[in-house]
Amino acid sequence: MSLVESTKNKDLPSGESFSSSCNACKQCMPLGACVAFKGIEGVLPMLHGSQGCATYIRRYLISHFREPMDIASSNFSEETTIFGGNKNFNEGIDNIIQQYHPAVIAIASTCLSETIGEDVQRLINEYKSIHAGDPHVPEMIFASTPSYQATHYEGFHQAVHATVKALARADGPVGKHINLFSNFISPEDIRHLKEIMADFGTEATIFPDYSDTLDGTSWETYQRISQGGTTLDAIRRSGSAAVSIEFGYILNRGKNGKSRDNNQFQSAGEYLEQAFDVTNRKLSLPMGINESDKFFELLSIISGNPVPEKYEKQRGRLVDLYIDGHKYVSGKRAVVYGEEDLVVGLAAFLSEIGIKPVLCATGGESGKLRETLESVLGDLYDDTMLVGQGMSFDRIEEQMKDLNVDLLVGNSKGYYLARKFDIPIVRVGFPVHDRIGAQHAKTLGYEGATVLFEQIVNTILEDRQRKSPVGYKYM
């Protein structure tokens, strides 16, 4: 048996087979939920649990987005954990309403409230019935997000699903508008998607839209609730949309996509399809030419309009750029890590520009990463690539020793590996807290591919210049 064959389709052991994690490659579910919730207009997120969860999550998200991130908490005490969170919940909601006047309070649970078995939906219903007729009572949305169930990525999609499920209606006839569930992407990418939709003349509800709430301007006066977000009306109308487009195939499939009571998790698009017959079209994140082509083709079919010239030119320039730069990247070996669908998107992009993703690693454990890579990458799929789910950075490091890696592509947490192996890192994904501008990262569409390609090529050139004894000025 040759060496190549022996590594074919090699999946690394899942995280489950280890007792401890050293330098995790994932965060907790409520963190993801808070990001998704920030995409609702007029929202104030609240975590039902200990105040530390809200504080740590705020602290962490703020270091990435560099924007205010208000998350309230029901501040559990020892007494609350014994007698239940009812009193704290009601008091918290009262205070939020009085201080912030939100249109929506979006609540995510934590390990603490889930472990004591709090029924948050019941608490919401009770609050609403006590305050029936009170015009100040906002919409309330609940997502169940116990950290021990999955990762921040599933938390994000659980919140997207919970919001749509709570609000979507199918009053009236099917409209011309479409839903775009755009996944955990940067505010800049959301803005870019909006531009594309407008250029196709398509009325689209992009959810969650935190392009303003998590990337705002400076303020004349203090804004208690940051402006922007997908409007409640738009989310309500998602039930009567013509079609949904959903980026990502894995979404909340963590732990085989089942909750503790063995319920199959659904994505928002799947829910709308099942409940309201809204056709759900799934695509990979449109990273690189191949995946962007699929997205633009689909938009052209849905809108009945040809791809605008602007994007044809963008695509043309991108091909031109690929040709200019291919010799710098061709044959390079990269490790890609992060959320599962991001890893798929990046692997597709890297393969198309000639970089070999020798290890695709994620903290998630959907069990679907390899098959998704295979189907999305198609002809570019290389069955010798290592695929690791439930991975930590410590285990990524272990693998890297034999992989002869040229480049890391992923979030800031991998920086220490880049330093250890003396190879460059291109920062993509979440969290990025050792560079500014994570909120402006452009990765989607032809334009995103242009930015990302230049970033990768220039990072490799910079590294070569730095390490060269000659000091070439022309590269």
Binding site: S21, Q27, Y56, P68, E78, L112
Partner: protein, 549 residues
């Protein structure tokens, strides 16, 4: 306090008007909440500090700066130690969020020496561990950690679900200590996030653990240095401990242990051989100081080596305590040499910073300590407060007997400490202490209000809403807090200095630290970026001109 001549008229006027703030803000809350918050907002009076409500539970739904008990125990006190493998028992988030976020630094003496600070260990609890218990997983995690690293010590930290499902981290630690043997030290902390009202509870739990499991395990006196001290409550953010170590070294003062910046297990174990404890962050570590005094007879003094003058003051106190001319002379020489450099920088910067206003809302000591640095820059602190301070941190330790012990404080273990039968050795006689007390105070901290301007606002556990109102009304030139507050404050056009982890800056302690701080503040108050907030077409003059024609 700032030189009277350098205070601007604004500051005077502001100090007279600050008291109105409380009534306005409190009125915005629901009545009951307003009544509660009113007790935590007071107007400072250095001669007769008013009673402030502190260390009480945060009101649900109010966005607080506070963290949890786990954060105080693992994140603050034990986190900066480099040769303990800290395993977080719980789901993944808690461990991840405390992974190097505080910018603690450490400097192993050789390349071979262990350094676990760059690692975040977690048992990464899953559903089935919650249902069937996580003790077995924890035991296995400890085994794995031992096989991988062979550390001297392993500490286990409990997160919220651990307490609820009844995992006993102490029992597991004991069992594993027996199983592994080889002199390894393994101990657990019941620092579940829901205990106590803030990270302060976690500090106390960590202090108890340090005392029970580490301090006093090694009696050997190492080195020939005469002046042996510990520095308590210094966590080496941005390299502060390195600067203080440099200064002590230069003076010939032997630092046995720092709790816990740039420190090792052995330094903790040996700490009881020091002759003086210096408490820097009173809130997070005073328990250890108290216990070491009772058990081993080591007196403690409060120091605040933040600010050049304050650092000099600390050195003089140490010299006075040991009372030897050789040390007194050395300390004076070092101060003279260091201050020359400090003054040269300060003189250049002072004209640009004097008369400006600062606000500090951070920590359980930092909101106090950094006022010294602002004073050296001629800046007045018009409002300050702690996230997790207690009344004694505001009003001074004299109020401790009058502090009501509530259910939250009762749930934290109080160790009963008695004099060690063989090792108790009072370092000074009663008479000597009485004599020294003329120049320095032992077992005393006078609190933040003792230093603040009369009329300045003091707010405990400031809410997000109160912060917004403070900025809107008083627009300080610099606001000091943490990253959670940073972007809100800066969006309103006021620069924010992070005093939890110093942005990318530091060290700020000691003499060289003071220079760094002066420069950073000069840059912040003088930055041109704030002038760009408004586009020209947004100015009133522009609008008038445009629409006039």
């Amino acid at each position: 306090m700032v030189n009277e001549n350098d205070k601007t008229k604004d500051a005077e006027k502001l100090l007279q008007s600050l008291h109105e703030f409380r009534d306005e803000v409190v009125a915005k809350y629901p009545k009951k909440v307003g009544r509660k918050r009113a007790k935590s907002i007071v107007v400072s009076d250095d001669e007769n500090p008013p009673v402030i409500q502190a260390n009480v539970r945060t009101i649900p739904g109010i966005i607080t700066q506070r963290g949890c008990t786990y954060a105080g125990c693992k994140g603050v006190v034990l986190g900066p130690t480099r040769d303990i493998v800290n395993i977080v028992h719980g789901p993944i988030g808690c461990s991840f969020y405390a992974w190097l976020t505080r910018r603690n630094q450490t400097r192993p003496e050789t390349e071979l020496e262990e350094n676990f600070i760059p690692y975040a260990f977690s048992t990464d609890m899953q559903d089935k561990n919650i249902v069937f218990g996580g003790e077995e997983k924890l035991s296995q995690a400890i085994r794995e950690a031992y096989e991988l690293f062979h550390p001297k010590a392993i500490a286990v930290f409990s997160t919220c679900p651990v307490g609820l499902i009844g995992d006993d981290v102490h029992r597991v630690s004991r069992h594993m200590k027996e199983e592994i043997g080889n002199g390894i030290n393994i101990f657990g902390f019941s620092c579940e996030g829901y205990r106590g009202v803030s990270q302060s509870a976690g500090h106390h739990i960590a202090n108890n653990g340090l005392f029970k499991h580490l301090i006093g395990r090694d009696d050997e006196i190492r080195g020939s240095a005469k002046y042996r001290v510990n520095l308590l409550g210094e966590y080496n953010i941005g390299g502060d401990a390195f600067e203080l170590e440099r200064i002590f070294d230069k003076c010939g003062i032997h630092l046995i242990a720092t709790f816990s910046g740039n420190t090792t297990v052995n330094q903790f174990e040996n700490a009881h051989t020091a002759d003086l404890n210096m408490v820097m962050c009173h809130r997070s570590i005073n328990y250890v100081a108290e216990m070491m005094e009772t058990a081993f007879g080591i007196p403690w003094i409060k120091v605040q080596p933040i600010g050049a003058n304050s650092t000099a003051k600390m050195l003089r106190k140490i010299a006075k305590y040991f009372g030897e001319q050789e040390l007194i002379d050395k300390v004076e020489a070092v101060i003279a040499e260091e201050m020359a450099e400090v003054e040269a920088v300060r003189e250049k910067i002072y004209p640009k910073t004097k008369g400006k206003l600062s606000m500090l809302f951070v920590g359980g000591s930092r909101a106090h300590h950094y006022q010294d640095l602002f004073e050296e820059l001629g800046m007045t602190t018009i409002a300050a407060g702690y996230e997790f301070g207690h009344r004694d941190d505001y009003e001074g330790r004299s109020v401790i007997p009058t502090i009501q012990i509530d259910a939250d404080s009762r749930s934290i273990e109080e160790l009963t400490v008695t004099a060690d039968p063989t090792r108790y050795n009072p370092r000074k006689t009663e008479e000597e202490l009485a004599e020294l007390s003329k120049d320095m105070e032992f077992t005393e901290y006078k609190g933040i209000m003792n230093q603040m301007e009369k009329g300045a606002l003091v707010i405990d556990d400031m809410s997000h809403y109160e912060m917004d109102k403070l900025i809107e009304k008083f627009r300080p030139d610099v606001f000091c807090a943490g990253i959670k507050e940073k972007f809100c404050v800066q969006k309103m056009g006021v620069p924010l200095k992070q005093l939890h982890n110093y942005d990318v800056g530091g060290p700020y302690a000691g003499f060289k630290g003071a220079i760094n701080f002066y420069k950073d503040i000069e840059q912040m108050v003088g930055a041109s970026v704030w002038k760009e907030l408004k586009a020209p077409w947004e100015s009133e003059a522009y609008i008038e001109a445009e629409f006039a024609c």
